[in-house]
Amino acid sequence: MAHLLYFASLRENLNSDQEQLDLPQNISQVSELKDFLAQRGGRWSDAFQAKSRLLVAVNQQMANEQSAIRNEDEIAFFPPVTGG
């Protein structure tokens, strides 16, 4: 199972902060997972549409659309950071 995490405005828009997901066989990189989540429709398709400015971290390291993901990974999606 992959552990998905959502933060800040994304967490509020999805009304979810995390979930366990058994990654379908055909998902091996971040962009494919985003497409999969967008297909849930409604607020999910708004949040994960192709032009959304979401950042992604895989196992707590910044990653990108092409980053490889596996079923045991921790994958976090969030908006651009605003600390400091």
Binding site: L5, F7, A8, S9, A57, Q60, Q61, M62, A76, F78, P79, P80, V81, T82, G83, G84
Partner: protein, 160 residues
């Protein structure tokens, strides 16, 4: 090296004292502390709500700190970032860098703040009498982070 993500306030003088304790080789201490303002993108801010990604935040700050150690001749540093509910005039972030010489400490401190703003997973929500809204990332902050990236990669290339 002292890195902390915490809800509690910090004491700037105390953190500096701890870094310099029992050292006689330090000639420069550079401190940046950031406070919550009551006007930024909105007027009349009542409070800020600071969210972060527990685990990744600490790792990201440590990796930014290691980068500073590898690029500048500095002796030690502290990064403290508060999370949770903060009010105007509250401390929010502290970066202290100590070194033999001031130029190294000044530059490293500025780098740490610029990088922290664009690389560490913190998010601010502003609360006003009219409601609440998430702060948008600022282009000027992104540019400041990119400037360091360009400069450091250029310098590393020319050293080779």
């Amino acid at each position: 090296m002292h890195i902390s993500v915490q809800t509690e306030d910090f004491d700037v003088a105390g953190v500096t004292r701890a870094l310099c304790e029992k050292r006689t080789d330090i000639g420069a201490v550079v401190t940046f502390s950031g406070l919550v303002r009551d006007r930024s993108s909105v007027q009349n801010l009542l409070a800020l709500e600071l969210e972060h990604y527990p685990g990744m935040t600490e790792t990201a700050l440590a990796s930014i700190a290691h980068k500073a150690f590898s690029e500048w001749d500095i002796d030690d540093l502290a990064i403290i970032h508060r999370v949770g509910h903060l009010k105007p005039a509250d401390n929010i972030v502290l970066v202290v860098v100590i070194s033999a010489h001031r130029k190294q400490a000044f530059e490293a401190c500025e780098f740490l703040m610029d990088y922290l703003k664009t690389k560490a997973p913190f998010w601010k929500k502003e609360i006003t009498v009219d409601g609440e809204s998430w702060v948008e990332a600022r282009l000027s902050d992104l540019k400041a982070g990119e400037r360091w990236q360009d400069r450091l990669s250029r310098e590393n290339k020319s050293e080779k």
